[in-house]
Symmetry: C2
Subunit: 218 residues, 2 copies
DNA sequence: ATCTAACCTATACATAGGTGTGGTTCGCTG
DNA sequence: CAGCGAACCACACCTATGTATAGGTTAGAT
């Protein structure tokens, strides 16, 4: 991750990224959200957003379906693929049902038809922020665990997996072809490095490992 | 559960419940699904469905949005409230975007606009069946665990909770105000009744307890 | 060549967990 | 009241786990 420093320095306040080709809409929305507690940044196109925005910030995206270049729906797919998990609220003046259904199936928070009331978009953004915060909590937890697990040696990892499977030391020893004392040694290291003091805690921590991750890019 | 016997006797094949006030549509869909591997049952209205259908069967619901009496969307809410978790595929000839979004947010599998191609509804139903099967697997597992846990005495349950928290026997003994030997006794009973042979397994089983349930009705 | 990390082993002791036998008490129910 | 199940305790015995000490080998880095 080459831009880790940049991410660290970002302000923690949630931001609303507005992507719409209509200038007056961008201004209206920017004003609206700044009048609330939120940061707001507006972009004219998907490419402008991709070039400028830091999409690892806490926040959400307000996305117009009809954009110059790629459509909002395709852009949603694109964001998904590069690992941007920011919740998306769609807006459209000329939409149809299949479009909205596709967006919702792909995980959109809401799909608003223009014109909408201020309250509608505020509610949608609130829901999106809530979803983002939840995902972020989950993700932070699982990264913390992954970081601990990263300090394990390969052997310790094997032992840990066997322990959470419920195997006894002697079984682990047999399976790995080593002596029971060595298993105890590794096991002790695992407990220390994973910062747990019981098998129960260890099981719960390891269960968070296969969940919150999404490889950034390839 | 007064109708448990009835549920047991139902055939296991997945069924498509079709709810549409248009007779020709009902017939066409019934024929279509019967020509595939599915059972199909058609209803003219939501009330007819509620009176006749066994909605604990594996299957899904094809629901027209515009119905005599309650709307399809309200009916969705209603089903949710009474604990019917069958996946719903909406169909409509006269829908709008907010309608489809509301349905999708409430968990609908799909929202098709009439006229649709056979393949569209077949795909949607396949997805719905898949979702139902997944939910059913999950639910069956968690019921099996709940059943095991149901055979525990109150004290054994307390001990189990303490064990999965990672407490040691002596801590459990202190917290419950009993001796350590008694804790061991209860603990042994817990392991036997829950059909596990390690704390790791026990933790995993208990983690399935607060998930798959939904009280049928009040 | 030396150092280090990762891996392995052994002995020894301490603590934790599991099982069995036997017995007490209480409250409920036939 | 007798029987039963739940909950409790104790003693004894065994197994499993944890920790510490004191080593050993190997592969890769300095």
């Amino acid at each position: 991750m080459p831009d880790a420093r940049k991410l660290q320095k970002e302000p923690p306040g949630p931001v609303v990224f507005i992507i719409d080709d209509d200038l007056s809409m961008r201004e209206a929305l920017t004003d609206l959200f700044r009048s609330m507690k939120f940061d707001a940044e507006a972009f004219e196109s998907a490419t402008a957003f991709m070039e400028t925005a830091n999409f690892n910030r806490p926040g959400c995206i307000l996305l117009d379906v009809r954009l110059p270049g790629v459509s909002g729906l395709d852009f949603q797919t694109q964001l998904e693929r590069i690992g941007c998990q920011m919740p998306i609220v769609f807006m459209t003046g000329f939409g149809d049902i299949p479009m909205s259904v596709r967006a919702m199936k792909a995980g959109a928070v809401d799909f608003l038809t223009k014109p909408f009331k201020d309250q509608d978009i505020l509610d949608a953004v609130a829901a999106a922020m809530e979803r983002d915060a939840a995902r972020r909590r989950q993700s932070a937890q699982s990264e913390a665990v992954a970081s601990l697990a990263g300090s394990l040696t390969p052997r310790e990892r094997e032992v840990m997996e066997a322990v959470v499977k419920g195997l006894m030391n002697k079984q682990i020893a047999y399976e790995l072809g080593i002596s029971e004392v060595t298993v105890k040694l590794h096991r002790g290291n695992v407990m220390r490095k994973m910062e747990v003091r019981s098998v129960a805690e260890l099981v719960r921590k390891t269960e968070m490992l296969g969940e919150g991750e999404r490889p950034p890019v390839s």
